[in-house]
Amino acid sequence: MYRIIKQIIKTGIKTEASPQPDEAMRVIPQRLQQQILEVFGRALTIRHVDAGSCNGCELEIHAINNAYYNINGLGIKFVASPRHADLLLVTGPVSRHMEVALKRTYDAMPEPKLVVAVGDCGCNGGIFSPENSLGGESYASCGKIANVIPVDVAIPGCPPTPVALMQGILAATSVCKKSEET
């Protein structure tokens, strides 16, 4: 136990300031905390679905939980059930074999719900999809996430960096705020 405590003290706090918001996404960290409180009450909960990715995006989604990015510290956490989730974080392309599971997961979420598409494949079908097909369809792939469920925010990258992921997740909550206002 002594060694564990000593190591924790030696490690100190690694968490960095949350990423600067992308101007296009119109989010600032301070308002963000406030928004999450207003819209979702205490916390934003995320359900992740891999709808056919290569697992590269998942590695970076894991990374935003590490001590450096510490997305938990912003009041955002991953939950085990779609019924507990405010936001669906989806990686793709959506394989035809995951189409039903993705739709059912989306349907199981309570309103209001947000969807964030992650990675080049989730945004437009990416490398797995024939160039001549709109949205990246093939015999095995439905292509981009938006072909299957409505998407609020799309985060490009192969895979997107942890900072980009956080910016996208934060931007999604601001989209929700905006649509409520209009």
């Binding site: 891999d50 056919g52 990715s53 290569c54 590269g56 894991h62 024939p130 095995a140 192969c158």
Partner: protein, 516 residues
Amino acid sequence: MPIKHPNLHLEPMNGAIPAWHGEIADSDLLPICQNVRDGGGRLVALWGSDEHAQGNGFALHVVLVNETGLVCLSMALPAEQPSHPDISQIFPAANRMQRTVYDLLGIYAHEGHDHRKWLRHAAWRSGSFPLRKDFDAAQSRSDDSDSYPFVQVEGQGVHEIPVGPVHAGVIEPGHFRFSIVGEKVLRLEQRFGYTHKGIEKRFESLSLQQGAKLAGRVSGDSSVAYAWAYAMAAESIANVTPPDRALWLRALLLERERVANHLGDLGYLGNDVALSFGFVQFGILKEQLLRNNAALFGHRYLMDRIIPGGVTADLSAEGKRVIEAELAMLEREVRLLRGIYDEHAGVQDRFIGAGRVEPKLAAQLGLCGLAGRASAQAWDTRVQFPCAPYDKLDVQMATYRNGDVAARVIVRFDELFESLRLQREILVNLVQGDGLAIPLAKLPANGLGIGMVEGWRGEVMVAIHTDARGNLTRVHPHDPSWQNWPALEHAALGNIVPDFPLINKSFNLSYSGHDL
């Protein structure tokens, strides 16, 4: 010559790994497989191809390995009702591969005992085969719902827990069907194919260079291993050897991928036994390594750094110093954390005895990679068939006999330290030199090349066939998870359901690499 058989005429293949190729007849497949099995050899991969463009029907390709090298057997099959003898009685790992060859190409394993579909769910109709050249995607669409005949367990108090495809954590999709009594697992049956997105079909419309990018995305956590195996297969067909410096850099990248994955998994293994301290600490170390990757090589997971003919990233003298400092830091920190894991009674209580695969069963199933080595299966491509620069590095293989979660953790720690040592050796030997790549624009016509690399999970193999114009006509990437997933069904038996996530994580097998 790796196998002796009267009807077998093997030709050596070019390339970095000792390999031979031979055409065989239907009747010779079983005796040759038995011969290799009796000599302690294993099945590496099995795939089919559509040969109509060459004026033939179909072909089945089987890669076997023994202590002298790889043997690739090709068997011509007729255009009508192509079939081959079932080899799953000799190599159980062939079962799912044969069912996949049927799902994708309609090549049937006669006398087989299990003809259920495997990768096909309901995206395309039964009786239509996506990897046939005359496949019509629009005509083959199916709106049926998927059904799969799981084996039912009956008896007093037995019930089923279906899990997936969407799991509770941030994980790839797959289905596990547990039959349990109380908390004990009586039977586990897997159902995969959820992430099947048509990778093999996709390769057929890509150039050699685009194919390298796709190969690096078969399984995102093994990007370097796949890209290298793909490049090795292409270089084998073209009969070129990349510059020395490129080969040293490839090995550096591969070892960094290995360390990154072991760090991540060791953290998650701590997390799965409620030691979140370990999760946080290993997460910090992994992030530091990834940041160095981004700063030095331009990508956190080193994607697209290996191309056919060489590499695209170099390492400066300053970069070398950064890695040296990182290696020293990792060596120190991981030793400290290993001490804490080793002495933590709660952790060891959960690790020891959980998810055991006995060496005898491991040998039967052809378990490979780090899971195999934790069950006394002493195979490591870097040791048995050391391609440059591993031939100068004298890799020390980590093996253990217990075959439980604790053994897989020990092997991971041992391999991690060995990997740090290898990186230090590589940095010393990384001579300035002769360019980073030999341009490889196009491959020769009608070629077959094989590349195999020991990724962090196990042996990653890629086979490339070219057509009469030198284009990619068939590319088959093979993940070690094909061999190891069935072993997980056995490893879970007799364990309690709450230990399954821990056992599963100790293997950490690929879904995407398997589902293709």
